[in-house]
């Protein structure tokens, strides 16, 4: 076995001190691994991972502030991720985000060693590194209730009820909420697919609107229209977007 040149840097994320202690203890026999941070909630995890860029992440799923998947959505998956949770129902989602392993609490040293071995393989580059987290890590018929956005090491949580519209901007999406715009590195189609289509509608190649915010639609130019939102914002509506919008609004009566 070839030793890595530098130590593997690990971050442990779990809201329960005793659970972190288990991982810490099981790692203590591995001198090649260095624990660079321990986090008790999702915000701390985002901050620590952004700043420290660890190789290995032990991640609980149900935590205060942000759950494990939301954390990954913000920090990406360019590291080996080992989930550790008492819940087995998230295993499928864990595979979709290319987790190295899914440890079910309580776990012992043997099982942990297996995870570690797999993680080292991933870190050694023997397993393909996923490039981007898929937005479809959600069960069918289930839509996001909130969108998490990272601004440096800070995290904003936007409940979808407070999202006015989304605007595509190159590689980013600008999410307009309560008079502010939050940039997120995602495609507008990705945002669209995570939201309930009964509440959000793509009115333009670059615009996704919260239907509750639409106050009126005005003709604009030859083939296009403008959607005027409650706060006066004017958004372009494409021809096909107008058709979709009409269909929905007519249905609502």
């Amino acid at each position: 076995m070839s030793m890595p040149e530098s130590k593997i840097r690990a971050v442990i994320v779990d809201d329960e001190e005793l659970a972190r202690q288990v991982v810490r203890e099981l790692l203590s026999t591995h001198s090649e691994i260095e624990i660079v941070a321990e986090c008790g909630n999702g915000f701390e995890a985002v901050k620590a991972v952004t700043e420290l860029k660890p190789d290995l992440l032990f991640l609980d799923i149900q935590m205060p502030k942000l759950d494990g998947f939301e954390v990954l959505e913000l920090i990406g998956t360019n590291m080996a991720i080992v989930f550790a949770t008492a819940y087995d129902q998230h295993a499928l989602r864990a595979f979709e985000v290319h987790a190295v392993d899914y440890l079910l609490k309580p776990f012992g040293a043997d099982r942990f060693e297996q995870s570690l071995a797999r993680a080292k393989q991933r870190i050694g580059g023997k397993l393909p590194e996923p490039s981007e987290l898929k937005a479809s890590t959600r069960a069918a018929g289930e839509y996001a209730e909130r969108i998490v956005v990272r601004d440096g090491t800070r995290v904003h949580i936007i409940p979808v009820t407070k999202l006015d519209y989304a605007e595509a901007q190159d590689d980013y999406v600008a999410l307009a909420s309560e008079g502010k715009k939050h940039l997120k590195q995602q495609t507008i189609s990705g945002v669209e697919s995570s939201l309930d289509p009964a509440r959000f509608l793509r009115i333009h190649r670059s615009y996704l609107v919260n239907l509750e915010r639409v106050a009126k639609i005005e003709p604009y130019g030859k083939d296009t229209h403008l959607a005027i939102l409650n706060d006066g914002t004017r958004l372009p509506v494409s021809r096909s977007g107008y058709g979709r919008l009409r269909a929905v609004l007519d249905q609502k009566g």
């Binding site: 809201d15 329960e16 001190e17 005793l18 659970a19 202690q21 288990v22 203890e25 008790g40 909630n41 999702g42 915000f43 149900q62 935590m63 205060p64 502030k65 942000l66 759950d67 939301e70 008492a86 819940y87 129902q89 079910l104 609490k105 309580p106 776990f107 012992g108 209730e145 909130r146 949580i157 409940p159």
Partner: protein, 358 residues
């Protein structure tokens, strides 16, 4: 829905019985006045049917005046008044009908004959109406007992359901797994606390055993169940979990359905405390309400309104609400309130004291 009008088959039986009875009566009346039975039959047939329908209206007044909780006078008075009025109306109709029939040769003397027996008709009309009243009260009583039976059956099913779910919920696998994980953490660093936690977990599991069979338990027992549950959670969450309890000693011997509070406390932990980085508090308050007619129990906890949604939230609450509804109906109340960062569940249960052992 009207118990007779609403069902064609019942209506047919009702009208048939009605016709037989009334035609017989009228035949007896007219027999003495020398009218042939055929003529009497022809005359009274439409009148009987008509009156039969009129008397169906007694259902509404019967439903409006329940036998239970109404004085004798309050019961007889309105119905008798109604009987007299309806009968008058009917006799007037009979007279009008007789006048119409009087135009025909065969029924020439009909108006006079009817006039001769006005009093008798009135009395019969009143009696028939009262008979209908009696019939409807029988139907009402029957419906009530069937409903009670159904309610009892429903309650039984729900209780068994709750028992099963309670067993599942109590030995909530995630609660167990997380606790075991904590114990495994403690075994190397703090064996003494690991043992304490094992014992607390065992205490809790033991106290939930066999609870499903009991319909009611003293509040004291439910509280000790909560204490052993919290003893486990306290080791898991440490200082993050703050519990405050304010229980009136007088209500400790009041009977409550088993596992009616524990799910609320478990909710407070998993949806409140577990989502708060700095931890939070749970407050439990139990005592009499102002009139001392109900036991008031409140469970309050802090929570993060922006916490990520956890699956299955609200199922435990809905369960408790349903169990209270089925068991106590309108005699109890249950409320859930979200107020900023405070989650409040309150219930008012009727006072039932622990039976003194003989």
């Amino acid at each position: 829905m009207h118990p007779i009008l609403g069902y064609p088959r019942r209506l047919a039986i009702y009208l048939f019985a009605w016709l037989t009875l009334s035609e017989l009566l009228f035949y007896l009346i007219t027999y003495h006045s020398g009218v042939g039975w055929l003529d009497a039959g022809i005359f009274f047939f439409p009148l009987s049917i008509f009156y039969g329908f009129v008397c169906l209206s007694a259902w509404y007044s019967c439903r409006g005046i329940p036998i239970e909780g109404t004085s004798f006078a309050g019961l007889i008075g309105p119905h008798l008044l109604a009987a007299i009025l309806v009968s008058f109306f009917w006799v007037a109709t009979a007279k009008a009908f007789a006048r119409v029939l009087g135009h025909f040769e065969r029924f020439r003397g009909a108006p006079e004959r009817v006039a001769n027996i006005t009093q008798l008709l009135l009395i019969i009309g009143i009696l028939l109406y009262l008979l209908a009243v009696a019939l409807f009260y029988v139907i009402l009583a029957q419906e009530e007992s069937r409903e009670a039976e159904q309610r009892a059956m429903h309650a039984g099913i729900l209780a068994r359901d709750a028992e099963l779910r309670a067993l599942k919920a109590q030995v909530n696998p995630h609660f167990l797994f997380n606790s075991l994980h904590s114990i495994s953490a403690l075994t190397s660093t703090d064996p003494k606390r690991a043992r304490e936690m094992c014992i607390a977990l065992a205490d809790f599991l033991r106290s939930t055993l066999g609870l499903g069979e009991k319909e009611l338990i003293p509040l004291e027992e439910e509280l000790s169940l909560i204490h052993s549950f919290l003893a486990v959670e306290k080791i898991r969450f440490g200082a993050r979990l703050q519990m405050e309890e304010q229980v009136d000693k007088d209500v400790l011997d009041c009977m409550v359905p088993p596992l009616i509070l524990q799910p609320l406390v478990e909710n407070a932990v998993s949806h409140g405390i577990a989502n708060l980085t700095e931890g939070g508090w749970i407050r439990l308050h139990a005592g009499y309400d102002d009139q001392r007619s109900s036991v008031s129990i409140q469970v309050e906890n802090s929570f993060d309104p922006e916490a990520p949604a956890r699956r299955k939230s609200g199922v435990g609450l809905a369960n408790v609400r349903r169990r209270i509804d089925t068991r106590y109906g309108n005699n109890a109340s249950f409320s859930v309130e979200k107020n900023g960062e405070r989650f409040h569940v309150g219930m008012l249960l009727p006072v039932e004291k622990k039976p003194v052992p003989a």
